[in-house]
């Protein structure tokens, strides 16, 4: 990933700390020229551009005059939106900034409609609005980060006047860390699962010793810190992070806390799985992840006990195991400031993210039903309803997210940005087919994606969320893509399986769908082809490129 850095101060000192991103730095104070499109030739092989504005320099450049500063700020924030719209294939990151807290206008500054506070507010408002409108524009809230760090501590006058580099050494570190988290959010690198210990993690004390009402969890003191930690975990689960409980306890003791202690914020239903027993936690976590169909590298494990943390690191090195704060009052801040940015960074959330916990719960309900019925009966009894979305640009964010996140049931593992998906949808060459799933237990949202290269009749992408596999819906997605290919006049559908470490599960899928392997001298994957026949009526239905089709199945 290549990042181009520009702004109104010296920026080279930040470049090294941004490794492994490859960073190019613009000429000094050249951001206006970049925004005006005068430096586009330098951007051709860049993936992202960051506009980093030092508010102290901005105010100084404008003679600490609020009206002049307001004009410069307004030009900057207007230009960010226009620049992003004009460069749809670039990730554009625009920073807010912090203007000096103390200025010649003195205390009246705060009520001045052109004062420093008002300017900061307007800049944030403008670039946030532009970010909502442009999927490739992201706000880096530098102003707020400086507020968090402290203006005194964030700025350094010696460096500022020696080299026009105004950030202190410590703050430079915080800034680059924060920026790397934002980049992880943009690249959808959030972990998916939070595994939590109970005793001395969710509450103070050991429930087996002090009882469900003796634990520290309250509106006061340390108990309040645990409660606030629970609020934060709850909010994270609302955002779609899956919770798994891992506690060495008698099940009855833990159950009593969840049922009877009304200070508990987290309820049983917020956990997709809970393992309360005396087995080794790594073993429990492995079975949890197996039934969730997720890899161990998508888990963060939080436990106050260093022995448990070490065991987890030793036995399951893919699991992320952060250290735990030394004292419970540090728990909420630690979780907000360190754990969430580092492991669960997010920017745009999709409807599917927000419904995830509910979806995993519904899956648990389905598996109860599955145990009672044969597979065919089970699938029939689900009352599955599929809706196909053909070339629907509204869903580009979700489609891109699926190409980025789906590892297992994914034939080609080609990752696409929102921008690439949008341009495929807009082009005549590709058909981008999404599949929305719902059944009697709930809506899963868009869970399948297939992309057909209409020119070559080749399946560019075929992937499914593992949540819905084994219900025959992958067959329906394949039927639909065959119809689209036939609609474009192809009598043969071609496909390729590109093996990765994680997609072994989909290795035999194409053969099971009636594809025949093709001998090929290319070594990167196995090629397949299948003869397709489609009735004429279907051609017409599928050729309506923007129509969504509903396809009830298994009824």
């Amino acid at each position: 990933m290549k990042l181009f850095l520009t702004g109104n101060s010296t920026l080279q000192p930040l470049a090294r700390a941004l490794a492994p991103y490859e960073v190019a730095v613009s000429d000094f104070n050249d951001y206006r020229a970049v925004l005006a499109g005068l430096r586009d030739s330098a951007l051709t092989d860049q993936n992202a551009v960051l506009f980093l504005i030092d508010g102290m320099e901005l105010a100084a450049e404008n003679g600490f005059d609020t009206a002049a500063t307001a004009r410069a700020a307004s030009e900057y924030s207007d230009a960010c939106g226009l620049f992003a719209a004009a460069h749809p294939s670039l990730i554009v990151i625009a920073s807010t900034f912090r203007l000096p807290s103390f200025s010649p206008r003195s205390f009246g500054e705060v009520i001045d409609p052109l004062g420093m506070a008002a300017i900061e507010g307007e800049v944030l408002n403008k670039i946030a609005t532009a970010s909502r409108q442009n999927d490739n524009l992201y706000v880096f809230d530098l102003g707020r980060l400086i507020g968090h760090f402290g203006e005194r501590a964030a700025y350094n006058s010696g460096m500022r006047f020696f080299a026009r580099f105004g950030f202190s050494a410590k703050f430079s570190q915080a800034l680059t860390d924060h920026l790397k988290s934002l980049l992880s959010a943009i690249l959808l690198r959030s972990k998916k699962v939070l595994a939590l210990d109970f005793d001395n993690t969710l509450w103070g004390g050991v429930v087996g010793e002090v009882g469900a009402h003796g634990i520290e969890l309250s509106q006061e003191g340390r108990g309040r810190a645990y409660r606030q930690f629970q609020f934060l975990v709850h909010q994270l689960s609302q955002r779609g992070i899956i919770l798994v409980g891992l506690s060495k306890n008698n099940e009855g003791d833990a159950d009593e806390v969840f049922e009877k202690n009304d200070m508990m914020v987290l309820k049983r239903e917020h956990f997709s799985q809970r393992f309360v027993n005396w087995k080794e936690k790594p073993r429990n976590l492995e079975s949890a992840m197996e039934s969730l169909n997720l890899g161990l590298d998508s888990v963060v494990f939080i436990d106050d006990n260093p022995v448990e943390r070490k065991l987890m690191r030793d036995m399951l090195p893919d699991v992320q195991v952060p250290e735990f704060p030394e004292s419970p009052e540090l728990l909420p801040d630690w979780f907000r400031e360190t754990i969430i940015p580092q492991y669960f960074p997010a920017y745009r959330l999709t409807v599917e993210d927000l419904q995830k916990t509910q979806q995993y719960r519904a899956n648990a309900d389905r598996s109860v039903l599955k145990e009672k019925l044969s597979l065919t009966e089970f699938v029939g009894s689900l009352e599955i309803d599929l809706k196909f979305l053909v070339n629907k640009a509204d869903h580009a964010v979700r489609f891109s997210q699926m190409t980025q996140k789906t590892n297992q049931f994914n034939l080609t593992t080609r990752r696409y940005s929102v921008i690439e998906i949008t341009s495929m949808i807009a082009s005549d060459r590709y058909d981008v087919l999404g599949m929305e799933y719902s059944d009697r237990f709930g809506r899963e949202g868009i869970v399948g994606l297939a992309i057909l290269d209409g020119d070559t009749g080749e399946l560019d992408t075929f992937l499914m969320s593992c949540r819905v596999i084994g219900r025959g819906v992958e067959d329906e997605l394949m039927r639909m893509i065959e119809r689209l290919a036939a609609g474009r006049g192809h009598s043969e559908l071609r496909a390729v399986f590109l093996p990765t470490k994680k997609n072994i599960v989909s290795k035999d899928f194409l053969s099971s769908q009636g594809f025949a392997g093709v001998e090929d001298d290319k070594e990167d994957g196995q090629r397949y082809r299948k003869v397709i026949h489609v009735e004429t009526e279907d051609h017409r239905a599928c050729n309506a490129r923007t129509e969504a089709a509903t396809w009830p199945s298994h009824q």
Partner: protein, 51 residues
């Protein structure tokens, strides 16, 4: 350090930032300007430690 071929203004800034971070000190503009040799650096840190 000024006699080194790789020495430039960016190296100068990077070294001063690293020192401020590592030794948890603030450097004034004069201290930064003077910081062009290992002995000057050591003297500056010694002086800061004493005060």
């Amino acid at each position: 350090m000024e006699t080194l071929e790789q020495w430039d203004s960016i190296a100068h800034i990077n070294i001063c930032l690293a020192i401020q971070n590592e030794f948890n000190v603030d450097m004034s503009i004069d201290e930064i300007s003077d910081c062009t040799s290992i002995s000057a650096l050591a003297a500056m840190l010694e002086k800061k430690r004493a005060s």
